[in-house]
C-alpha cells in the first residue's frame, strides 16, 4: 500500500473511534507534558544554582576541621576544636599562593534595639573577609585589624537586620545595638544580596571582628573554619597543597596520615550543587518517563482490542490482496499517529505548564530544545514499540481464520 493511502486509512480508523483515540492519546499527552515540565524545572534550578555560584568568585577555599571521633563517637563535621588562630598565622606566613585568609566563627545572637529584637547569626571574621567574598558596603566602612586586636565592639549588619531593628529605609550607621546584651556600635551596612540558592537570606547577618565574637560572645579559644582566597584561580591546587602541608606539619601529622581538616574550593561546591540538581533532574524525568511508559501500555492495550475487533476487516483486506506487511504497517501507523499526535499536544501543554510554573510559583524553568526533541522521539519510539506486538499479531493472521472470526 502506498504511504498516502496508509495514512488515510489510519486516520480514518482513528476518526471512527474519536473518544477512544483521545483517551489513548491522553496517556501519552500527560506523559510527554510531565517529562517536559519536569526537565524544565530540573534544568531551571540547575542553571540558577550555577549562576549564583559563579557570582561568588571561583578562587575561594574553605578549610574546616574533619569530622573527628572522640572516644569512638563520630562528631558532626566542623565540630572539632582542633583549629586555632596559630594555624591562620602559619598559613598567612608560609603559603605564597594565598592572597587572603580569615578565621571564621559563627554564633547565634539575640539583637536588641530599644524594644525591637531579632535573632540571627553573628559571624566573627578578619576585615579581609570582605575582599575574599567580594562583599561591598552600602554605607559606613569595614572594621580594621586594630578592632580585632582590641576585640572592639563594632559590627556590620545586613539589610534584613536593619529592616527588623530600625525600619526599612533607615541608615543606622553610628547607632548602637545589643548583641547578647553587649552593646555594639554599627559601623557599616552590607550591600543587599537576596536569597542564595538554598533559600537562605544572605542579608540576615551580623559581621563583627573575629576576636570580638570568639572571646566576648562565644568565649572559646578555637576557630570553626577558615576562608581563604588564592592569588588566582589557577593557583587553587597549589594553595590547597600548601595549606595541607602547613596544617599537617602544625598538627604533627606525617605526610601519609589522613589530614584532620578538609579543604573545599568554590569549584567543589559548584560541582556538588550541580550534581545534586542533576540528580534531581534525572529523578523528576524518570518519574515522568514512567507515566509516559504507562501511556505506551495504554496504546498497546487499545491496539490489541482494536486488532481483535477488526479481525474481520483484516480478513477482508487480506482476501483482496493485503500482505502481512500491509496489515502490519496499517496498525503500526495508527499507533505511531496516536503517539506522535499525543507527543505534539503533550509538548505544547508541557511548555505551557512550565511557563505557568515560572509565572505563578516563580520557579526558575528552562525549556531546552533537547528535552522537546527527546520526549518527541521517546513518544514515537513508544508508539512503535507498543504498537509492534498488536500489529504483528494482526499481520500473522491467516486470511480464512480472520474471515471466519466472529
Amino acid at each position: 500500500m502506498k504511504v498516502k493511502n496508509l495514512l488515510k486509512a489510519a486516520l480514518r480508523s482513528l476518526a471512527k473511534n474519536k473518544m477512544r483515540t483521545f483517551l489513548t492519546m491522553l496517556g501519552i499527552i500527560i506523559g510527554v507534558a510531565s517529562v517536559i515540565a519536569m526537565l524544565a524545572i530540573g534544568q531551571g534550578s540547575k542553571q540558577s544554582i550555577q549562576a549564583q555560584i559563579s557570582t561568588l568568585g571561583t578562587n575561594v577555599l574553605m578549610i574546616f576541621p574533619s569530622a573527628s571521633s572522640s572516644g569512638g563517637v563520630r562528631m558532626e563535621a566542623g565540630s572539632s576544636q582542633k583549629m586555632t588562630i596559630e594555624d591562620v598565622t602559619a598559613i598567612t606566613e608560609r603559603c605564597p599562593s594565598i592572597a587572603y585568609i580569615t578565621p571564621q566563627v559563627r554564633s547565634s545572637g539575640q539583637l536588641v534595639n530599644g524594644n525591637l529584637n531579632w535573632r540571627t547569626s553573628v559571624y566573627g571574621v578578619y576585615p579581609n573577609y570582605f575582599d575574599i567574598k567580594n562583599l561591598k558596603l552600602t554605607s559606613g566602612s569595614v572594621f580594621t585589624m586594630n578592632d580585632d586586636r582590641s576585640a572592639g565592639k563594632v559590627c556590620i549588619i545586613g539589610q534584613t537586620v536593619v529592616t527588623n531593628l530600625f525600619g526599612a529605609d533607615a541608615d543606622p550607621v553610628g547607632n548602637y545595638i545589643r548583641i547578647n546584651k553587649i552593646p555594639f556600635k554599627i559601623i557599616g551596612i552590607t550591600e543587599k544580596k537576596g536569597q542564595n540558592s538554598y533559600g537562605q537570606d544572605q542579608d540576615d547577618v551580623v559581621i563583627a571582628p573575629f576576636s570580638t565574637v570568639q572571646k566576648r560572645i562565644m568565649a572559646v579559644t578555637y576557630i570553626q573554619s577558615m576562608l581563604a582566597s588564592a592569588v588566582t584561580e589557577a593557583l587553587i591546587p597549589n594553595a590547597s597543597q600548601e595549606i595541607t602541608d602547613v596544617l599537617k606539619a602544625k598538627h604533627n601529622l606525617g605526610p601519609s596520615e589522613d589530614p584532620d581538616f578538609t579543604i573545599r574550593t568554590q569549584t567543589d561546591i559548584a560541582n556538588m550543587a550541580t550534581a545534586t540538581s542533576g540528580i534531581l533532574t534525572i529523578l523528576l524525568a524518570t518519574i515522568a518517563s514512567i507515566s509516559l511508559l504507562v501511556g505506551g501500555i495504554g496504546i498497546m492495550n487499545i491496539m490489541l482490542v482494536s486488532v481483535t475487533e477488526r479481525t474481520r476487516e483484516i480478513g477482508i483486506r487480506m482476501s483482496v490482496g493485503a500482505r502481512g506487511r500491509d496489515v502490519l504497517l496499517q496498525f503500526l501507523i495508527e499507533a505511531l499517529l496516536i503517539s506522535l499526535l499525543g507527543g505534539l499536544i503533550g509538548v505544547t501543554i508541557g511548555v505551557l505548564v512550565s511557563q505557568l510554573i515560572a509565572n505563578i510559583l516563580r520557579w526558575p524553568v528552562t525549556i531546552t530544545i533537547q528535552s522537546i526533541l527527546m520526549s518527541f522521539l521517546f513518544s514515537s519510539a513508544i508508539g512503535i514499540f507498543f504498537g509492534w506486538y498488536p500489529a504483528r499479531k494482526a499481520a500473522r493472521l491467516n486470511p480464512i481464520d480472520a474471515l471466519r472470526y466472529e
Binding site: 483486506r317 502481512g324 500491509d326 491467516n398 474471515l403
Partner: protein, 250 residues
Amino acid sequence: MGETIISVKSLVKTYKMGDVEVHALRGVNVDIVKEDFAAIMGKSGSGKSTFMNIIGCLDVPTKGQYLLDGVDVSSLSKDQLAALRNHKIGFVFQSFNLLSRTSALENVELPLLYNKKISSREMRTRSLNALEAVGLADRAHHFPNQLSGGEQQRVAIARSLVNDPVVILADEPTGNLDTRTSIDVMGIFQKLNQQGITIVIVTHETDIAAFTKRNITFRDGKIIRAIEVDKPRNAKEELANMPVLAEEEL
C-alpha cells in the same frame, strides 16, 4: 476447450479438532477452463466452501496439487499468495464482507490499494467502471448500511472484478437474496462471463445453477458428478419477461 485456469488433483483437506478428524475434502480432481462458468452444488457440509477457500488461496490444502493459471500454488510464500489473490482472483462471499462505514466506491477500490502499479486517478475510474458494470454507479457514495442486500452483493462483485482477475469465485452469492435479486446477480455474472471472465459459484439451488454452463456436485468431500448444462437459463431475458405488475404488488 480453452486453456485450463484451475487444475486440481487429489485435493485433500482434513480439519483436526482435538482427537476428531474432519475430512472436508477427500481427493478432489477437477479442471476449470478459461471462460467457463461453473456451479458447485451439494448438500450442506459436503465441502463446497472448503474447496472454494482453497482455490481462492484463502486456505491451504492438507494434501494434493493445485495449479492456478499454470502456477503451482503450494510453492508460493504468504506474500506471493496475497499478490495472487490481488491480481488473479476475485472472491465474492455469501455475507458480502464489505468494510462498514466505508463508501461503496472505496470498498470497490480496496483491492487496487494493494496494487502498487495503479495511480489514484486510475483507481477512481476503474472503481467507477466496476460499479457501473454492476449497475450501481449512482450508489457510489453510499455506505453498506445504506444499501440493500442485493446492492451490497453487487458492490462485492464490483470489488471482485476491479483488478481484472482471471477468475471470480463466489460462495453462495445469492444465498441471502430473494429470487428476483438472485436472478439479477446471476445476470451480472452471465454478462461478465460473456466478456471472458471465468466464474465459479457455489449454490444450493438448482434454479440458480441452471444459469451456469456446468454443474459440479460434491458429496462427502468428493465430486460425484460433473455435467454440462444443456440450455442455460438467460437472466437478462427472464428479467425482461417478468411481470412488472407482480413486482409492484409486492
